[in-house]
């Protein structure tokens, strides 16, 4: 108990130096936590955008379509299958799509897009697509030649809502089909490259041109709970025995790298901060030991054992680091929690954010695992930093130390 009291008071012998170390530790942790949370927030925004706007959690395809993307490589069943799957308890929403590669043309532009035939209601339930509309209307009614294109594409094509455009594609028998569409609405998903490369029309209307009846190329399923994905995947595989059922990380392996790289960046930040913390503590404690050489000699002379002396230095290091760390962690967590609630608005850099596929307003967050591991790593760093100064103190000979 006396050692605890002594070590706590010892760190305040040089108030300015100890306060400087504590503030440095505190600011380092706040900055580190916040930076990690920002990176995590950006990456999770990218992840959620991709899942919720584009690929969903699970997709069902004809296995050959994944490889060849031929129009006739469909999954049969259409509306009946969609209604069945959408009613499963694990499923939040599901939709079906027809897909074909096409040439899109206006008076001044010709380019390639992937044309999706969607069911507007189920699509909206699954991808909340209508929220991205910035001009015009969502697809309303059925069997119309309405089309939604990205705003970025519309600018390239120099078209607007109400303009007529022509799309050319192959039908299931490989005949070239051209169809005229009227631009019903313009969308901005937040991901420019995606907006330039896709267009949406009615499933039935596209199927009528592709000669597919009620079939579909793709079923996208959004789960209620990420923990249910494996069981849901098995259930879908049983329901569609001839089809290929894939989870999001199989559809987009790069997306999994994004998620794991978020953790990686957080740990890199943490390691850099801990290296700084370790050297700061080491320097401070070495100075403290050198300044108190005679006192340490006296302690050894009157009978303070090496174990207790070691513990004294370790306790001082711990107090020095933990005081700053606790304040830093509380402030850091508070800042992350606050910005995680209100968001960080980088609309001023929206072009860059769109290129990255990130919402201009994103929400910093840190994983529970990361939040729990930080105090442990701070503690280990402080303990490691204490070893050298403590050994230096133990190496003193009382008879020499007393003469300093």
């Amino acid at each position: 108990m006396q050692l605890i009291k002594m070590s706590w008071r010892n760190i305040w012998r040089n108030k300015v130096r100890s306060a400087a170390v504590m503030v440095a530790v505190m600011l380092g942790l706040v900055a580190g936590l916040f930076s990690s949370a920002m990176v995590e927030g950006v990456l999770l925004s990218r992840f959620h955008n991709f899942i919720e706007n584009q690929i969903s959690h699970i997709q069902v395809h004809n296995p050959e379509f994944i490889r060849d993307q031929e129009v006739f490589q469909t999954v049969g069943g259409g509306q009946i299958d969609l209604e069945t799957v959408a009613n499963w308890s694990e499923v939040k929403a599901a939709t079906i799509r027809s897909r074909t590669q096409s040439m899109i043309a206006s008076a001044t532009y010709t380019g390639g897009v992937e044309l999706y035939g969607i069911r507007p209601n189920s699509e909206n339930n699954t991808t909340n697509f209508s929220r991205h509309l910035i001009e015009g209307d969502y697809l309303i009614g059925e069997s119309e030649n309405a089309i939604l294109i990205g705003n970025a594409l519309a600018e390239k094509m120099k078209v607007r809502v109400g303009s007529r455009i022509v799309l050319t594609f192959h039908d299931k028998d490989n005949n070239l089909v051209s169809a005229a569409f009227v631009v019903r609405g313009l969308f901005d998903s937040g991901y420019k490259r995606y907006d330039e490369s896709v267009a949406f029309t009615f499933h039935d209307y596209l199927n009528s041109h592709l000669g597919l009846q009620g079939d579909f190329h793709e079923m996208a399923v959004l789960a209620n709970n990420l923990d249910d994905l494996s069981s849901l995947e098995e259930k879908l595989s049983s329901h569609f025995p001839k089809s290929e059922v894939r989870k999001w990380n199989e559809i987009e392996p790069g997306l999994e790298i994004i998620v794991t790289s978020g953790n990686m960046f957080s740990y890199i930040f943490l390691i850099l901060i801990m290296i700084g913390l370790a050297f700061g503590l080491l320097n401070t404690m070495l100075m403290a030991v050198f300044e108190r050489t005679r006192e340490i000699g006296m302690l050894m002379a009157i009978g303070m054992g090496k174990g207790r002396l070691f513990l004294l230095i370790v306790l001082e290091t711990l107090f020095l680091s933990l005081t700053g760390s606790i304040i830093g962690l509380l402030l850091g967590y508070g800042l992350v929690k606050y910005t995680g609630r209100v968001g960080i608005d980088l609309s001023a850099f929206s072009d860059v954010m769109k290129e990255l596929g990130v919402d201009p307003v994103f929400y910093p967050e840190i994983s529970r695992e990361f939040a729990l591991i930080i105090p442990i790593i701070v503690l280990i760093t402080a303990l490691l930093s204490a070893i050298y100064p403590a050994l230096k103190a133990l190496s003193l000979r009382p008879v020499e130390a007393l003469q300093k």
Binding site: M6, E295, G303
Partner: protein, 229 residues
């Protein structure tokens, strides 16, 4: 039986090149209840002899026996533990722990010994009263005069109930009044409670009060005089 006994004690620096005899063949005994001064000019080996007796330094040759234990044969850890339980130290520069109060400084050594809190409280308070510091118990060293700090150091040395107290020039940094006050206290403890004191000093005020004066010159024992004999 002597409480301290050295036999053919040497401390030689640079023995292989240009030997310097800090302590040169000293055989001496100190009995219980003695109030002894080790005197001599600077560099005569006073502090070195006390360091060897206190187990703070190791002899080049010879033996040091303290309270029946061969301190020169002990490992460093054994010596630390031995000092804690058998020897009290008073230093020239007081060497109190600046972050602890007078009471805490004195109690610290008993806490290291693992004594119960009640025993510590009773003994330390009694000793602080004996040296006239009952009103300064909660003061830190920076709030005490040099004389008061040295009195706390004496209490700290006594608190562990050592076999004897080694004091290396205890009055060197004190004014005359404080020095006499300290010497009065130590002399009273010696006479009334039988505490054994061994000083190194060249302060005539200390020498005048000593019962025995051991004079060193160039590391060797020149005179060993007991007053009244």
């Amino acid at each position: 039986m002597p409480v301290i006994k050295t036999k053919q004690l040497f401390k030689i620096y640079n023995e292989d090149t240009v030997p310097v005899y800090a302590v040169n063949n000293i055989s001496v005994e100190f009995q219980q209840r003695e109030f002894t001064c080790v005197v001599g000019p600077s560099g005569s080996g006073k502090s070195t002899l006390l360091n060897l007796i206190g187990g703070l330094d190791s002899p080049t040759r010879g033996t040091v026996e303290v309270a029946g234990h061969r301190i020169d044969e002990m490992t460093e850890n054994q010596r630390i533990n031995f000092r804690l339980n058998h020897i009290g130290f008073v230093f020239q520069y007081f060497n109190l722990i600046p972050v602890l109060t007078a009471y805490e400084n004195a109690a610290f050594i008993m806490q290291l010994q693992g004594k119960p809190e009640k025993e510590i409280r009773e003994r330390v308070k009694t000793l602080l009263v004996q040296v006239g510091l009952e009103k300064r118990m909660n003061s830190r060293p920076s709030e005490l005069s040099g004389g008061e700090q040295q009195r706390v150091a004496v209490v700290r040395a006594l608190a562990s109930k050592p076999d004897f107290i080694l004091a290396d020039e205890p009055t060197a940094n004190l004014d005359t009044k404080s020095a006499f006050n300290l010497l009065d206290i130590m002399k009273r403890l010696n006479e009334e409670e039988g505490i054994t004191f061994l000083f190194s000093t060249h302060d005539q005020r200390v020498i005048d009060r000593a019962g025995r004066v051991v004079t060193l010159v160039d590391g060797g024992l020149q005179h060993d005089t007991e007053k009244g004999k």
